[in-house]
């Protein structure tokens, strides 16, 4: 096997090894900061592997599985370097244990890339030790031995020793001083698509989510929070306590809690409870929208400015558009829930959770139990999308369990979920472009919206030092003069991370490009290719490649669909390190878009498990179409006007298009799968092609149809 030589550095890669009764363990708990380009402190993955005396490997998965397939893809990385049959691997889900695994957060599809190098090192380190063990048994050189599918072979004599027979020798060996990683061309497992490890349990009812946890003696509860901007003065139980034989109805820190003997009684009783509230701040969507619109006409604070061409601007044409984006909910299929067991000094919690460190800190602050005495069990998550970064639904059960000294499970009803989400912020965007010689001379994008970082984390630094609100404001094309401005507005409506939080800014950019193309009477796809011709931007070539690919997949012909009466729209995006181009084909029936086909060419680097990449792309596309078609909650007196899937719909199967995906691999390392983020823009562009009307108000439902 040809390998890359990577020197082992103790500073970043401390290995402990030791014989245990069941086999040979390598912990790689202190991997240090990863050297990939991630700049956030969260991406510090960890894990460990174990080979037992039957030669089977247990590989720990220490992140959260929310459907993105990483409980399969991450262990595959370890197994590849370990050179073991995938059938001989068992994946074990870790509970939250930062001293062993470090950061266990699961964010924005980034876990694969942030784990790539460290997991390889971990697998390879084990392989090295097994090779050394075999070499010393045979009294030959390590270089003459090779690992293959669960055994070590001495190349010259073809002698074999299976891992199961080597584990005890290996466990006593010193740590490898240098580690050779495999060459991609030698990969046997990566690049193939074995079944997901969680696939069977997700078809037989055995998959356990937090909502399924059962603790003896536990109380079942649900909660009712007051509308945003209001506080509870009093409440009327309307006799529910007797009617449903409840344990209790109380006011607690965040609202009213209903404590019952089963979830049904709690949920039914909650419906009948009347709150008397005092309005402290007016929260009305129509006023918010007006205020955002008014502010966008002012200058805004430039957070990003790059002026590279100050030449003559006489022959210039100026065009501009305003966009509105509503507060968008997550609507995870598994409603918010948690179960807690709190005693004087100790707290154990089960919850869907994407950010364990933060939750533990929040719990500790809330009830004054030391962090080390808080145990958070990571379960399967019924959809994350950023909603499970928050602790609100977790603190509910913690507080109630502390109060009653009993285990308590809290489940939110769907209307509570919609009314108290951490929404993608509402926003008014204005793009102004100066056009000169058919090119975009200047791109000026102004965003007026709440700030996630400021509002959510109460960061005290100046609002205008944080770039987050303007991420995605500049399009994917080399433009000489670029300005992103921001105006901060804050409301008592919680805002937070949302699958592609900058997707609204990108939507504005990618639809505005079509507007520019139309102004210039250009084919929108060719116009994109034309803009990308200048190679002064390093990503241009890859974006051109995915555009070209998708154009041929869809037989692009200036937006004419494949069938009569069908129209196509295109959009492309470079996001989370992935390059994605979409073409969406629609027709219009009774004033509504019917989405027939979505073509998608993606380049996300090396696809570790191509089928999982595909399913992520399919999911991303449908998410984005849902967002553009339907997503938006509005408020009257702080109360959400939507309450369930009938008035806050998501895409259904009978509206779901055929999806055609092609994966290009332009690099030999995996990158994040950012798929999906432009499908909605491509849909809006198809609508523009079909009707001549730009989609500038989201969601499309209630605004354009």
């Amino acid at each position: 096997m040809k390998t890359d030589r990577k020197f082992f550095s103790r500073r970043t890669f401390l290995i402990t090894s030791g014989a245990v009764t069941s086999g040979f363990i390598i912990g790689f708990s202190k991997l240090g900061k990863n050297q990939e380009k991630e700049d956030v402190e969260e991406f510090e993955p960890n894990g460990w592997l174990k080979i037992d005396k039957d030669g089977r490997a247990t590989i720990v998965f220490a992140r959260s599985e929310m459907g993105q397939g990483i409980s399969t893809a991450l262990p595959m990385i370890v197994a590849e370097e370990l050179s073991i049959n995938w059938d001989d691997v068992e994946v074990k889900y870790a509970s939250h244990d930062p001293s062993t695994y470090g950061n266990q957060g699961t964010y924005s599809n980034s876990s694969v890339i942030s784990s790539w190098h460290q997991l390889r090192m971990a697998g390879a380190a084990a392989r090295h030790m097994l090779i050394s063990a075999a070499a010393s048994t045979w009294h030959v050189k390590s270089e003459d031995c090779r690992a293959e599918n669960g055994y070590i072979v001495h190349v010259k004599t073809k002698r074999k020793l299976y891992y199961k027979d080597l584990i005890f020798t290996a466990a006593k060996l010193p740590l490898p001083q240098e580690i050779n990683l495999k060459k991609n061309k030698d990969f046997k497992l990566l690049g193939t698509s074995p079944n997901r490890v969680d696939s069977i349990i997700k078809s037989n009812g055995k998959a356990l989510y937090a909502i399924d946890i059962d603790i003896p003696q536990m109380h079942f509860a649900t909660v009712l929070r007051p509308p945003f901007g209001s506080e509870i003065l009093s409440f009327d139980t309307n006799g529910v306590k007797e009617k449903f034989n409840l344990i209790d109805v109380i006011q607690y820190k965040y609202g009213i809690a209903v404590i019952a003997r089963d979830t049904w009684s709690a949920l039914e009783a909650r419906k009948l409870i009347a709150l008397k509230t005092k309005k402290n701040i007016r929260v009305n969507s129509s006023e918010i929208k007006k205020e955002l619109k008014k502010a966008v006409r002012k200058e805004g604070v430039p957070l990003f400015k790059e002026i590279r061409d100050q030449s003559e601007t006489k022959s210039i044409k100026k065009i501009s558009l305003e966009y509105f984006f509503p507060f968008s909910p997550h609507l995870t299929m598994e409603p918010q829930n948690s179960t807690a067991l709190v005693s004087k000094k100790y707290c154990e919690v089960w919850a869907p959770c994407q950010k364990p460190e933060k939750v533990i800190e929040d719990i500790s602050k809330e009830i004054g139990i030391e962090k080390k005495n808080i145990k958070l069990n990571l379960t399967l998550i019924g959809g994350g999308f950023g909603r499970r970064y928050e602790s609100d639904y977790i603190l509910d059960s913690v507080l109630l369990s502390q109060y009653y000294s009993k285990p308590v499970k809290v489940i939110w009803d769907r209307d509570e979920d919609i009314a108290h989400d951490w929404y993608r912020p509402a926003s008014v965007n204005k793009i102004t472009a100066l056009i000169k010689d058919e090119k975009i001379h200047e791109w000026d994008h102004h965003v007026v919206s709440p700030s996630i970082n400021i509002q959510r984390d109460n960061i005290s630094r100046s609002v205008y030092q944080d770039q987050q609100p303007v991420i995605g404001c500049q399009p994917n094309y080399p433009i000489k003069n670029r300005i992103s401005r921001y105006t901060h507005k804050q409301y008592p409506i919680t805002v937070g991370w949302w699958y592609g939080p900058d997707s609204k800014n990108r939507f504005a950019c990618e639809t505005f490009i079509d507007f520019v193309a139309k102004t210039l009477k250009k084919d929108p796809l060719h116009y994109r290719q034309f803009l990308l011709q200048e190679n002064n931007w390093r990503e241009s070539a890859t974006l051109r490649a995915v555009l070209e690919k998708v154009a041929s997949m869809a037989s692009w012909n200036n937006g004419e669909g494949k069938k009569k009466g069908h129209y196509q729209g295109v959009a492309c995006v470079y996001e989370c390190d992935s390059f994605v181009a979409h073409i969406v084909e629609i027709s219009i029936s009774q004033g509504k878009p019917i989405i027939h086909d979505v073509y998608c060419a993606v380049d996300c680097g090396l696809a570790l498990h191509p089928d999982i990449v595909r399913s992520q792309i399919e999911g991303g596309i449908l998410w984005d179409l849902s967002a553009v078609l339907y997503m938006g909650v509005d408020f009257q007196n702080g109360q959400a006007r939507q309450s369930n899937f009938h008035d806050q719909p998501i895409l259904r199967i009978d509206e779901s298009p055929r999806i055609h995906v092609e994966i290009l691999e332009s690099s030999d390392t995996p990158r994040n799968i950012g798929g999906g983020f432009a499908a909605g823009a491509a849909l809006a562009n198809a609508w523009y092609r079909a009707t001549g009307k730009m989609v500038t108000q989201l969601p499309m439902k209630n605004n354009v149809f």
């Binding site: 599985e65 929310m66 459907g67 993105q68 397939g69 079944n195 997901r196 969680d198 696939s199 069977i200 349990i201 997700k202 078809s203 037989n204 009812g205 055995k206 998959a207 356990l208 909502i211 399924d212 059962d214 009617k243 449903f244 034989n245 089963d262 979830t263 049904w264 009684s265 949920l267 039914e268 609507l331 995870t332 299929m333 598994e334 409603p335 399967l380 998550i381 019924g382 959809g383 994350g384 999308f385 009803d413 769907r414 399913s615 399919e618 999911g619 596309i621 449908l622 998410w623 369930n644 899937f645 009938h646 998501i650 895409l651 259904r652 199967i653 009978d654 779901s656 055929r658 999806i659």
Partner: protein, 156 residues
């Protein structure tokens, strides 16, 4: 609320229950019986996550009250096959349908019912019959493909 004491049959097993007469089968099955494969998504018949079979027919368990149950047989996702070998489960696995998996019990229970009622459903029928089952992860393309593949297998 009146408490009912009743013997009910789930997955060919008898259970003695004692619960409020209006309780929905969803929460009876989850909280009282302890079978958690049937999921709560909306509580209003809008998402399909709670789909079970009553006398072999798909029903939204969040809308079905205990007191309306006579002696019908109930099947939940846990009861469709002992060894995970129901053809729909097998094809679901083959097409690697599930993502987060939360909606999948409901999807599978609806699909089984659909395949009982239609011997040769068209694509449109499949889409129409499955449309009450929401999936936030976007597994629809695979659900469609899996059901179609099953139909092809059956014919050959």
């Amino acid at each position: 609320m009146k408490i009912l004491k009743k013997r009910i049959n789930i997955n060919s097993k008898d259970y003695q229950v004692e619960a409020p007469e209006d309780i929905s089968l969803l929460w009876l099955i989850r909280d009282h019986i302890g079978l958690t494969g049937t999921k709560f998504g909306c509580g209003k018949g809008l998402c399909g996550a709670c789909t079970i079979h009553i006398e072999g027919r798909a029903n939204r368990s969040c809308l079905y009250k205990l007191k309306d149950l006579k002696d019908e047989q109930i099947t939940t996702i846990e009861g469709i096959s002992e060894k995970d070998q129901h053809p729909v489960q097998v094809v679901w696995n083959k097409f690697q349908v599930a993502q987060c998996g939360y909606c999948q019990s409901g999807q599978i229970m609806t699909a089984i019912d659909l395949l009982k009622r239609f011997s040769k459903p068209t694509k449109d029928t499949i889409r129409k019959e499955m449309k009450g089952n929401l999936c936030r992860c976007g597994t629809y393309p695979r659900i469609e493909k899996a059901i179609e593949a099953l139909l092809k297998e059956d014919r050959s």
